[in-house]
Amino acid sequence: MSLFRSFCRRPQLWLGAFVTALLFAVALISLVWTPLSPSKMQIVHKLKGPFDHGLLGTDQFGRDVASMLMVGTWNSLSTALAAVIIGGVAGTAIGLFAAARQGFVEQLLMRVCDVIFAVPPILSAMMLGAFLGAGRFTAIIAIATFMVPVFARVVLGSARQIWARDYVTAAQSIGKRPLGITLVHILPNVAGQIIVQTAIQLGLAILTEAGLSFLGLGMAPPAPSWGRMLADSQTYLGLAPWLAILPGLSIALAVFGLNMLGDGLRDVIDPRAESG
């Protein structure tokens, strides 16, 4: 009940949850329905403005922008989600392991994380793209790699505090193994932090995915993605500005919602932390 009250006191949590739910709903609906086929070209209707042809107009090939944005939501979200899940699981495992072992192992793992963190995801995607070719797989691996140190650091920081608690010392003294303690005592206590980070990093992953698609390192055409739509819009900035405005607004709304959700969740899970 107190959790319910605390939810009621936090409008940003609700706003974030609403926008995020909307995002997931649009992504899922696009799998079964879009106003028109996003790949259907109607050259006679090319570069029509919003409400002129279809809800949000058409692009240079006469494709329906609303449908492309809907499918783009799924493509961007699923890529970002896959990257965050892979990076989150790997980073959490590293953080938990480092906290359980401490000492040299912890130092070594954290230095490795520092090294990985020094390579911006755009650059690692470009390096990978040079050999693997551009595509969703390259984007996922590049973003996930960048997420590993982020999750590892957050989990390690929280896990170390839990390891210092009396009940963990008690568990150790009755002969519980580190793996057992990690699974029973540490992981449930850091789960809140992991959930908060997942929401925030998902927003960052969407921004990065959009950047990669913009550079042609994301999903291969003709699959629509927000970043690629922005890249394509560059030629028509004067003629059809909505082609640049709409995908950017979609990205901004998605990231805004996820950040709000992350901040709101942090306030509920860890009320001492100031989200600013």
């Binding site: 230095r111 490795v112 520092d114 090294v115 990985i116 963190f117 020094a118 390579v119 911006p120 995801p121 755009i122 650059l123 690692s124 470009m126 390096m127 990978l128 793209g129 040079a130 050999f131 693997l132 927003g203 921004l207 990065t208 959009a210 950047g211 913009f214 550079l215 922005l230 819009s233 560059q234 900035l237 004067g238 500005p241 640049a244 405005i245 995908p247 950017g248 990205i251 901004a252 709304l253 990231v255 805004f256 950040n259 709000m260 100031e274 600013g276």
Partner: protein
């Protein structure tokens, strides 16, 4: 103090070596033969073998790594295969665009973030605080390259008062070159400003509750003087930390923004190298960017030692 400095410097060198090794390994172990990538699949085996020898690809892995590293340390970064000129020269030339762009972007983001963050903190829960919060949430959520496109639509194609892209070069005079960098710098600096504003607000709020601020007020300082003379300088420590971490995003942003505005900077060089499969340029530019990020973080670390005397002890606090 000297022991701590030496330890940090040792860590820096190890990290730099590890990053260079990582970059080299990634470029090396990934499937695909650089010689074949450059010449295409239709090249004859003899030509391929000759290019491999020329590139030193027939040498053992470690020898090649040490050769590359030794070259990088002495300023010899190899020769670009598409431009046919030394990579070091190419990087130097492109830095004339990227460095001023990054400095201008940083200046814009700091110039916006610190006054806005301090304003929001000093008038907590007011309309100003709400508006600043809205600004920072919005600017964190928008991609910089999209801001670039919107700026082009507004200031170049609609109002026609700014160039839509391109760079005339510093030889064309200061103002035309500077003017070409203004919109890109705003696009690059705005998302950073959002993050910095939030950090500044939180940091100033934390410090405003401290005893020394109360003491300053009790001594008779006006709220404004206590804020700017006592609270803000102390709140800048976390702001500097975040600034250090932001360099990674500044570089990633530069790659994108330089592409939007067609600026011949380092980010665009990396992108073109990717399109042209110029592996050596890619490798060098990535190393350069990463070394820059690591050095900037190191500089922030060292700055702390001077700002906060407690950190000078062995092991820190």
């Amino acid at each position: 103090m000297i022991a701590v400095l030496a330890r940090r410097a040792g860590g820096l060198i190890i990290t730099l070596l590890a990053v260079s090794f990582l970059i080299f390994t990634v470029m090396d172990v990934l499937p695909g033969d650089p010689a074949e990538i450059m010449l295409g699949t239709s090249a004859s085996p003899d030509t391929l073998a000759a290019l491999r020898r020329e590139m030193g690809l027939d040498l053992p892995f470690l020898v090649r790594y040490l050769h590359w590293l030794g070259g990088a340390l002495t300023g010899d970064l190899g020769t670009s295969y598409t431009y046919g000129v030394p990579v070091a020269g190419l990087i130097g030339e492109r830095l004339q665009v990227t460095v001023p762009l990054a400095i201008l972007a940083l200046a814009i983001s700091i110039g916006l973030a610190i006054p806005l963050g301090v304003l929001a903190a000093s008038r907590k829960s007011s309309v100003a605080d709400f508006l600043v919060g809205l600004f920072s949430h919005f600017s964190i959520a928008v991609p910089g390259f999209w801001v670039g496109l919107i700026l082009i639509i507004v200031f170049a194609t609609t109002l026609g008062i700014m160039p839509a892209g391109g760079f005339p070069g510093w030889a064309a005079g200061f103002w035309p070159a500077f003017k070409a960098l203004i919109l890109p710098a705003v696009a690059l600096g705005l998302p950073q400003a959002g993050v910095l504003t939030r950090v500044t607000r939180t940091a100033v709020l934390d410090v405003l509750g401290e005893d020394f601020v109360r003491t300053a007020r009790a001594k008779g300082l006006t709220p404004r003087a206590a804020l700017w003379l006592h609270a803000v300088p102390n709140a800048l420590i976390p702001v500097v930390t975040i600034l250090g971490l932001q360099f990674t995003f500044l570089i990633a942003g530069a790659v994108l923004v330089e592409n939007v505005f067609n600026l011949p900077g380092l980010g665009r060089l990396a992108y073109q190298a990717l399109a042209q499969r110029d592996i050596i340029v890619m490798q060098d530019v990535v190393l350069f960017f990463c070394a820059f990020v690591i050095l900037m973080n190191f500089a922030v670390d060292i700055a702390y030692l001077f700002i906060d005397p407690r950190l000078r002890r062995e092991g820190g606090v």
